[in-house]
Amino acid sequence: MSKVSSIDFGVLSPQMIKKMATVKIDKAELYDPDGYPINGGLCDLRLGVVDPGLRCRVCGATAGNCLGHFGYLELTKPVIHPIFGKHIYHLLKITCRKCGRLLATDEEIKGMKNPWKEIYKNPRKKCPHCDAEQKRITFQKPTTYREDKQELTAEEVRERLERISNEDLKLLGINGGRPEWLVLTLLPIPPVTVRPSITLETGERSEDDLTHKLVDIIRINERLKKNIELGAPDFIIKDIWELLQYHVSTLMNNEISTIPPARHRSGRSLKTLAQRLTKKEGRFRGNLSGKRVNFSARTVISPDPCISIDEVGVPLVIAKNLTVPVRVNKNNIKELRQYILNGSDIYPGANYIIRPDGVKKKITEENKQQITEEIDIGYIVERHLKDGDIVIFNRQPSLHRMSMMAHRVRVMNYKTFRLNLCSTIPYNADFDGDEMNLHVPQTEEAQIEARMLMAVQDHIRSPRYGLPIISCKHDHITGCYLLTKKGTKVPKKKAARLLMRIDMEDKATKDYDGKELFSLLIPKGLNIEFRAASCVGCKKCLKENCPYDAYVVIKKGILKSGVIDENALGEKKGKLLNRIERQFGPEVAKEFLNKVSVVALEFITHHGFTVSVTDSKLDPKTEKKIEKLLEETNKEVEELVRDYKRGKLKELPGMGKEETLETLIQKKAGDVTDKIGKIVKDSLGETNAVIMAKTGARGSFVNLTQTCASVGQEFVGGKRISRGFTGRTLSHFKREDMGLKSRGFVFHGYKRGLDPFEFFFDAMNSRENLMDKSLQTRHSGYMERRLVNALQDLIVEEDLTVRDSYGTIIQFVAGEDGIDPAKSDGGKVNFDLLEK
C-alpha cells in the first residue's frame, strides 16, 4: 500500500473546478414530482450514489465504494470567498490600484524580511512604478471593500487581483494559486456523498444542511441571472448580488461574527462547511485525531482478588462477540476447525473467516460444515477471545499512560469485567458502578507490542515519580500489618489454609510466626531496612529493637523485625515493593503482589476486622481535658477580639489590623486542633480504626480526631466563614461577633454530633469543596490538552538528545542525565542495589 508522504494546500482555480466536475448544476429543484432526481439538480445522479443497490453513473462503483463526484455552478456574478476576506484586503492595500505592482521599489523589497507585513504597515500614497495616486481602502468584515467610501464590487476586486504579477506573489510568499481565484466565479458543488439525504420513516426525504444552503445559492443565482436579462434597475441587481454573496458566505462559514447565521426553518442555525471541520466534534478533532474503533467492549467492573494483577475477567457474552484473527497454519488447523464447528454460539467458537482473496464470510449454523472443509493454510479465522489473549483495558479519564494497560484475558461467567484490586490505583477505579473499556488488538504486531510495552507489570513503576503505583491498599495493608505484627501466631492448619491460596501448601509444615509466614513471600536474597508507616519518630531510633516494632529489617529475604504496612507495600511509599521491582524485575514484583494481596485478604478474612463507634471512644478524663482546652482557646480568642476592638492589637508585618486578627485567630484555632489531635492519638488504644490510620491503610488521625473530639475550623474561600447577613454569619449571633463559634469553628466531634450552627457551617464547607472539584476538572483538562499538544512530538533519539519531529534539539541529554524516571528509583539511582 502506498503511503501518504506529504500534503499540499492550495486554492482551487476555476479551470480546476470545471475539470474535476462531472455535471453543471443549474436547477434549484431536487426531485421531479415522481421523486426522481432532476438532471442538473443538486441530487443529480452523476454526483455519486448514496442509495444502496445502485451503481454510480460516472464510475460504476456501488454505494460506499464511489466517493462521489463534484459538480459546478456558474455564478452569474462573482463573489468574494468570505474566508479569505482579510487576505484579499491585504493584497488590495499593498498593490497599486492601477498597475497591480507592489507599492514599493524593487530595491526596497530586496531589503525587506517580510515584504507583505512591511508594505502593509507603511502604505504608500503613490505607486513607485506608475505614479498612480493611491486611495484609502477600508475593509468591512467579511466581504465588503471600500475605496474612499466608494464600494468595490467583487468584479472590480477581481480585476485588481488579476493585475498582480506572479513575480510579486512569489515575493509575498503566496504559492497557493492566483489571488483572483479567491473571488469565486465558479462554485464547486460537493458530491451527494458529502451531504447524504436521509429517508424518514414516513417516506419523506430530509436533506442535509449543505444541500439546503446550495439550493438557496442556486435559486438566488437564477434570480440574479433573470433580473440582469430583464434589464432590472441597478439597485435591484445590487441587492440580489449581495444576497448571493451572503448565501455563499454562509455556505463556507455560518459563524462569521458580523453576519447573521443562516437558519433552518426550525430556527436552528445551519451546519455548513466550516462548522464541519472545527470544534471538538468536528472533522479534525472528532474524526481524524480521534477515531471510532471496532473490537471493543464496555461494561461495569467488579473486584476479583483471585486473578493476577495483569489479568482481566471477561464475561462470556463479550468473549463470544470479540474476536481475534488467526491465520491458519498446519499446526493450528485442527484447533481452528473445531472452533468453526462450534460456530458463533458455542464457546470457544469462531464468528468469521477471511479467505486468502480477502472475502469475509460469516460462520452460520448452515455453512459451518462446509467452511470447516474449505479452510486451508492461508485462511484467517476470527475466533472467540480465549484465556491468555492480550487485550487493552482502559478507564476514562485517561490521564496518564497507566490508564491503558494490556491485560491477559480470563473468560468468566456473569456480566462484569473483573479486575484485581491492586490494578485499580493507576486506573483510579472503584466498584461503585464504574465502567471500563476493553480493546482487542487485531494484528500480531499490535498484540506483541501490547505484551511487551503495555503489560500491567511493566507499569508498576510510575514514570511520574519513579516509584510503584500499582501496589497494595486498604485491606491488603491492614492484613499484612495484622499478620506481621508482634505476637501473631499462625498455627499449622491456618498456615496451610493461607498458603494453599498461593499454591505453597507444601510449605505448611509447622506452626508459623506471622513474620515467618510473610517471609515466605519475599524473594530470596533481598536485604533492606526502612521505617514502617507506624513509626512514631522517636528522637533516637533503636532500629531493630524498636519498641513499636516499626523498624523493618529484611535480611536474605527473611523478615527479621518490623511490621509490613503502607511504607512497605503502599502506593509511592512501598519501599519493599519498590526494591523487589528494582532488584528482581517486574515479573517477580507481579507475583509478589499477587501473593501478598491474596494472603493478606485471606488472613484478614479469618481474623475479622470491623470498624465501629467504639473505636473512637475516648475515656471521660480525656474528654474533659479536650473540653477544657477548647474552652481556654475560646477565651483566648475572645481576648484577642477584645484587644482588636479596643485597637490594642499589634499589627503583624505587612498586614492590616483586621488581617492580623484573622491570622491570629486562625492560628489559635489550628493550634488547638493540633493539640487535640495529639491527645486523641495518645489516648486511643489500638482499635481497628487506629490500626488503619497508623498503617496508612485508610483514614488518618485527623479523621479520628474529627470523629471523637472536635471537627475544628471550617473554611469557605480560604477564610473563616464570614458570609451571610450583614456583620454576622447567622441571625442567631450578635453583629460583629468575631468569636470562634459564630465564624464556623466546630467544637463537637461527629460522633457526639454537631449543633445546628456547626452543622450548617460544615455543610457550607462541604458544598464549597464539592463545587471546586467539579469546576476545576475542565481547567486541568484544558491544561493537559495544551501540554500534550505542545509536547507530543518530542522523542528521545539514539544519542539521548530530546528533539521534536523536525530535529530541533530541546535537550542535549534527556532529563540532563539520560535517566528515565520510569526506570529510576524515585528519580535516582539506588546504590544499595550495588551490594547484594
Binding site: R464, K667, G718, Q792
Partner: protein, 374 residues
C-alpha cells in the same frame, strides 16, 4: 550505544557512597562496573515519547490540585495574595505577563539584621503622593487643588515629583496644605489633574507595592508584592545571589534566558511541591527547556509553542482550525507529516516509539543465511 557515560552527579554520589562504606581498590572497580550496568538499564530508550509522558506526568497530578488561587496571610511567612495551585500552574505555562508578582529579597551578611532589613524595606517601598496626602479637594472658587499633607511629608520631594505638572501651574505650600492652581483649567481638567498628581511616584522603587520583613531561618528577608528586579539588584545592601522574583520576563530581561528557564523550573516544581504532589524534576525540566528553547519565553498554547509548529495539520487540530487551513492554502504550504498527530490523522503509523523503527534488509546477507539453511 557502545559507551555509557555515567552522569557526573551519580559518579560523585558513587564516590561518596564508597567512602562511607569504606570501599576501595578493586572492589570499587567491580562495583563501578555494576553501577554502569544499572545506569545503562536506567537510560531512556531511543524513540521514547518523552514529551507525552512529561505532559501526562504534570497534568495528571494537576487534576488533584486545589482551585483556590490565593493563600491567606496566615500561612507562615507569606504575604497575602500569592497565586498558587492550579491557577498558578496555568499562569506559568501561559507565560502570563500580568499576575501577582512577588519578590524575596535577601540581604548581605552585614545588613542581615532586623533593623537594617526594616530600614531597607521602608526605603524600597514605592510611595505615591496619595500616601502622604490626608485629604484632597478641589477648590472651585479659586479653581485650584487643595491637598492636606500628612505630618511626615517631605515638601521638596513632593515638589520635585509633581514638577511635570507644575510648569503651567502655580504651586504653593501654606501650613500643612499644598495648593496647585493651573493657569487655566476647567473642572474636568482639575479632576483629572488631581488624580494624576495623587498617583505620582514619590520615592522608593517602582512596582514594589507592599513590603514585609520576615525571618526565614537565619536570615531576615524582605518579602514584597510587586517586583522590580533590575532596580533591586542595583541596591548595595542586597545579596544578589539569593534575591528572587517570580516574574520570568523580568528575569529574562535582567539575567538572561537560562535564568528564566531555571525560574520556570523552580516556580513550577514549587507550585507542585506545595500541594504535596510528586513529579520528577526531569519532567518539569523538559517543559521549561521547551518554553525557552529559542531564546524567548514561549507559552504553552496556541500563541506559543503550539502556534509555532511547522505542521499545518497539527496546528489545525489544536485550535483555530480555520485560520491555519486558510493561511496554509493561500500561501500554498506543504505538510510533511513528520509529527505524531499528523500521521494519526492520515492513518499512518506515527513516528514515535516503535513506530519510528524501520527494518532494512540486506538482500545479500539474507541470501547467505537462507542459502546455508537449505
Amino acid at each position: 550505544m557502545t559507551t555509557i557515560k555515567i552522569p557526573k552527579k551519580i559518579e560523585d554520589d558513587f564516590n561518596k557512597f564508597c567512602e562511607e562504606h569504606k570501599i576501595k581498590g578493586s572492589e570499587k572497580k567491580k562495583l563501578h562496573e555494576k553501577l554502569k550496568e544499572i545506569v545503562k538499564k536506567s537510560l531512556f530508550e531511543p524513540g521514547e515519547a518523552i514529551g507525552v509522558i512529561t505532559a501526562q506526568s504534570i497534568s495528571e497530578p494537576a487534576t488533584q490540585m486545589t482551585m483556590r488561587s490565593y493563600t491567606m496571610a496566615s500561612q507562615a511567612g507569606r504575604l497575602a495574595k500569592v497565586t498558587f495551585g492550579l491557577p498558578r500552574m496555568v499562569e506559568i505555562f501561559d507565560a502570563r505577563k500580568t499576575f501577582e508578582r512577588a519578590m524575596k529579597i535577601y540581604l548581605k551578611e552585614e545588613y542581615n539584621n532586623k533593623k537594617d532589613a526594616k530600614r531597607i524595606a521602608e526605603k524600597i517601598k514605592e510611595r505615591f503622593v496619595r500616601d502622604v496626602v490626608e485629604k484632597s479637594s478641589i477648590d472651585l472658587l479659586n479653581m485650584q487643588l487643595e491637598f492636606e499633607l500628612s505630618a511626615d511629608a517631605d515638601r521638596d520631594t513632593i515638589k520635585s515629583a509633581i514638577e511635570k505638572y507644575a510648569k503651567s501651574c502655580n504651586v504653593s505650600f501654606r501650613a500643612n496644605k499644598l495648593y496647585i492652581k493651573p493657569e487655566k483649567a476647567e473642572i474636568k481638567d482639575l479632576r483629572s489633574l488631581k488624580n494624576k498628581i495623587l498617583e505620582t511616584h514619590l520615592s522608593g522603587i517602582r512596582n514594589i507595592l507592599k513590603v514585609a520583613v520576615v525571618k526565614d531561618g537565619e536570615d531576615w528577608v524582605i518579602q514584597t508584592s510587586g517586583s522590580n528586579l533590575r532596580k533591586i539588584l542595583e541596591l548595595p545592601e542586597i545579596d544578589i545571589k539569593r534575591t528572587y522574583t517570580n516574574d520570568m520576563y523580568e528575569v529574562e530581561a535582567v539575567l538572561g534566558i537560562e535564568a528564566a528557564r531555571n525560574l520556570i523550573l523552580n516556580e513550577a516544581s514549587s507550585t507542585l511541591g506545595e500541594q504535596g504532589l510528586d513529579v520528577d524534576i526531569r519532567h518539569i525540566m523538559l517543559i521549561s527547556d521547551l518554553m525557552t528553547k529559542d531564546g524567548k519565553i514561549r507559552s504553552v498554547g496556541r500563541y506559543g509553542i503550539s502556534g509555532k509548529k511547522t505542521s499545518i495539520l497539527a496546528k489545525a487540530n489544536f485550535e483555530e482550525t480555520l485560520k491555519h487551513l486558510t493561511s496554509a492554502s493561500f500561501k500554498g504550504l506543504r505538510d510533511e507529516l513528520r509529527g505524531a498527530v499528523e500521521n494519526v490523522m492520515i492513518g499512518n503509523v506515527a513516528p514515535i516509539g516503535t513506530g519510528r523503527v524501520e527494518l532494512i534488509v540486506d538482500p545479500k546477507k539474507l541470501k547467505k543465511i537462507s542459502g546455508k539453511k537449505s
